[in-house]
Subunit: 218 residues, 2 copies
Amino acid sequence: MPTPNRQRSGETRNEIFAFVRDRIAAGASPTVREVQREFGFRAVQSAQQHLTALVADGRLIKEAGVARGYRLPNGRLPEGGDGASHIGPVGAVRYIPRLGRVQAGALQEAIEDPDGWLPAAAGNPADELFALTVRGESMRDAGILPGDTVVVRRQDTARDGEIVVALVEGEATVKRLKLSAGRIVLQPENDDFAPIEIAPDTEIRILGRVVEVRRRLV
Amino acid sequence: MPTPNRQRSGETRNEIFAFVRDRIAAGASPTVREVQREFGFRAVQSAQQHLTALVADGRLIKEAGVARGYRLPNGRLPEGGDGASHIGPVGAVRYIPRLGRVQAGALQEAIEDPDGWLPAAAGNPADELFALTVRGESMRDAGILPGDTVVVRRQDTARDGEIVVALVEGEATVKRLKLSAGRIVLQPENDDFAPIEIAPDTEIRILGRVVEVRRRLV
DNA sequence: TTGACAAACAGACATTTGTCTGTTTTAATA
DNA sequence: TATTAAAACAGACAAATGTCTGTTTGTCAA
């Protein structure tokens, strides 16, 4: 059998796209010459031509006048408003610091010295986000289990019914916030646990609101 | 008050680190001259010096001979083996395609035409991952609720007790797999639902194993 | 005051990377 | 076969970027 027809199949172009996409996802756009080398082209222009075509097709975006300037266009967002906004523009990622034990007043220090980082879609840069590991079964019926990671948006206040991280007796805890007629209650979602009623003069400190839950299965 | 002491506080260096970190997270490392411009240095070397120092401190990594070659070092992993391995090397991200409705046999097509993309720590490149939105309450007691996104590792087989995505009556469904004495059962985690027993001659197709659950709160 | 040192400045040069012009090869098709 | 268009090649130049040598300035502390 002679050489299979690759000349007009567009297969090489697809492979180049996949290569560039993966390199961008891995941290940085490749250069034209890196594409050239990867595919064994003897001329820079061979790679350049494919890349230009991919940009013309809208499969890639090029930042003009910038080395390693290839970017991925935005991922199409699901139409259904199911709150799946953690799917964002591909390529725009932010890293959320994952904190160890948070104790009284030490939030800022904990944020500056995280255990590690979680990638997430970029979202609103003004939001201060951090992540915590859940301890205990108290939110089981809300689908938040021990070992789960919660992503928290830093804020001092919250509204009735929102799940918050609050500082109770010097330790961070996840509960649902109940506000009614001047009473403040931190409500577990598990009948085995008692609600924590906040006396009017008690100091309660809300660290933020839980915006995402992640669980890694073995 | 005279000019506060910035000369030796290291504050500028911290700001430069934050700038570089955020730029890397946003998609690409800045150049030395971009740092220079951002901080208003009149000499390239001023920025260069800070960057070199950050590399010496281990706060950044530099790929030699590469434009825009600054990278973030790996996030420190939590020592506790709590399975939180979705925290990976910072900067190494992969995008997981999020599929809409998956119907009989159409998995490959669905993967090539995703609804959107989820960022995740890179992990093992050999793993084929995709994501699905959960419908129904059948896995409620396992902490998997309607609207949750499950990340699935593509595989044809699974072990007893693992949560899998299987194709049942032409539609993808999430259940716990129970294998015992030649019987195959897809077990819901909710008493309101009945287990699905797979008759020996029935065609059952396992699409993959659930490796992560994500839930976005309003 | 002076020495030590970090930080910033000045200017240059080397390398990497992007982009251009024009030619040749390959495969499909009239 | 002749035509055509995509794909690949060849060689060059320009712009972006990395890196170097040496000097000056600001702050601390002896």
